[in-house]
Amino acid sequence: MIHNERVRHMVQLQAFNDRKGNECFPIVRYFRGDYVGLHMLSSFVSATVCYGIGLLMWGICNMEMLMTSIHTMDLRQFATRIVLRYVIFVVLYLIAVYIYAQIKYTRAKKEMKSYNRHLKRVIAGYERDGGEA
């Protein structure tokens, strides 16, 4: 016998699986701190690589200037400036990633609440019918 109510919940579950499942399930496997931390760690590596690429591009563009003034410039000040800019860039980027990861985790948790509600109703339906399926 088909239970209309149960079918309705199962359709909702499948619709969630198709639309948001791929996005939400991998997120809620983690604790909030772990998820955000993992994102920030990978973003730190990305930001470092990107800064390196930017530095390389700047270096190539200003190759002549660097070659002519390398002997006269204050190398310590030059290096400090590069490191300072790197720190500012990484910190700003990590703040953005932190906010993004927090929002994404909160949204996924909220979506999963509705999923779990339907799931509980389906399970309750089965239990009510004494495991008939």
């Binding site: 990305s46 690589v49 990107c50 690429i53 591009m57």
Partner: protein, 332 residues
């Protein structure tokens, strides 16, 4: 208006019924336009200019995720640039890598905006993108994908414009000199910076305004966004002497306003004359609710009654009785 609403419902019904077929078709069409645009604009490597190859790639995109259009487009661009000059290819690769690491890693779903944006530039309607993005996206983060697309467009436009100079390699030139030339010309592009700033600002304004809880929020957002783009483009053109065609700018803004209105008609068509305001409370809050009904017309179910000769056979006698005439009168 009722006819338009009926057509809208029919289109919605058609799309939802045939979504499974329409989605791959739309992906293929987008891929075909993108790949052939790359072929016509760049086309430096003759080996990958084959129509068959591009069609096979585009048709395979129908079965693959939408992001594969971006991947294939990036590969085609890099191969064409490699054929032109190693330096140009290297600059483009590094720019794409930075974009991927900083942005697309997080929001791969919206990466197709990076393909749509250069296409909008090619068709002289870049102003459509901020309006469409601002209206349709929940989060303004996807605006960054639009910026990435714009950056790629200007990079490629600059390389194409100076293709002859970049391809020529004199004895004094090294790859590094060429690299530096391409990069300097790209970074010093004032038009790119001004244009992207205008588009980002317009997208943010449209996104902000359409979320306001005021009547006709979408209409206000569309008109403000379009006007802002028009005014800022004119100011930038006068200040920076960009040499943009006024007719093209005005037409682009008009098209963007039309696209915005079409989007509003399909996604946010409300009847403000029937707005209802209700107030109620629970243990913790007092609620002031404003409910605006959507304009909706249910599609008419037309029933066609067929009167065919086979089904409607009637005897002479019955016909004469029905018409209340003598049976002999039916003889001609």
């Amino acid at each position: 208006m009722t006819t338009l609403l009926e057509i809208k419902e029919q289109i919605r019904g058609f799309c939802s019924r045939y979504e499974i077929y329409l989605y791959p078709v739309v992906k293929s069409i987008l891929a075909i336009i993108t790949f052939f645009m790359i072929r016509s604009r760049l086309g430096f490597m003759t080996r990958i200019n084959s129509v068959t190859l591009l069609l096979v790639l585009a048709l395979s995109c129908a079965l693959l995720p939408v992001n594969m259009i971006v991947v294939f487009a990036a590969l085609l661009v890099l191969l064409h640039l490699y054929s032109l000059s190693l330096a140009a290819c290297a600059v483009c690769f590094l720019v794409m890598l930075v974009m991927f690491l900083l942005y697309f890693r997080f929001l791969p779903k919206k990466s197709y905006y990076a393909v749509l944006m250069p296409l909008a530039f090619v068709f002289h309607i870049p102003y459509v993108m901020p309006v469409a993005l601002g209206l349709l996206n929940e989060s303004p983060v996807s605006i960054l994908a639009m910026v990435c697309g714009g950056v790629i467009y200007y990079l490629l436009a600059g390389i194409t414009a100076n293709a002859t100079g970049i391809a020529e390699m004199t004895e004094d030139d090294s790859v590094i000199t060429k690299f530096s030339d391409v990069l300097n010309q790209f970074l010093g592009n004032r038009e790119m910076i001004a244009m992207l700033a205008i588009l980002v600002l317009a997208a943010l304004v449209v996104w902000f305004l359409r979320r306001l809880a005021v009547d006709h929020a979408w209409l206000i957002a569309i008109s403000t966004g379009c006007l802002l783009q028009l005014v800022l483009t004119l100011i930038c053109d006068l200040q920076l002497k960009l040499g943009a065609s006024m007719l093209s700018v005005i037409l682009g803004v008009i098209v963007s306003a039309l696209v915005g209105l079409v989007l509003q008609f399909f996604f946010f068509n409300l009847d403000y004359t029937r707005t209802e305001r209700v107030q109620f409370e629970d243990d913790e809050y007092y609620y002031y609710v404003k409910a605006v009904p959507k304009i909706y017309v249910s599609g008419t179910d037309k029933k066609v009654q067929k009167f065919s000769g086979e089904d409607a056979q009637i005897s002479r006698k019955e016909l004469a009785q029905e018409m209340d005439i003598d049976e002999d009168l039916l003889d001609f």
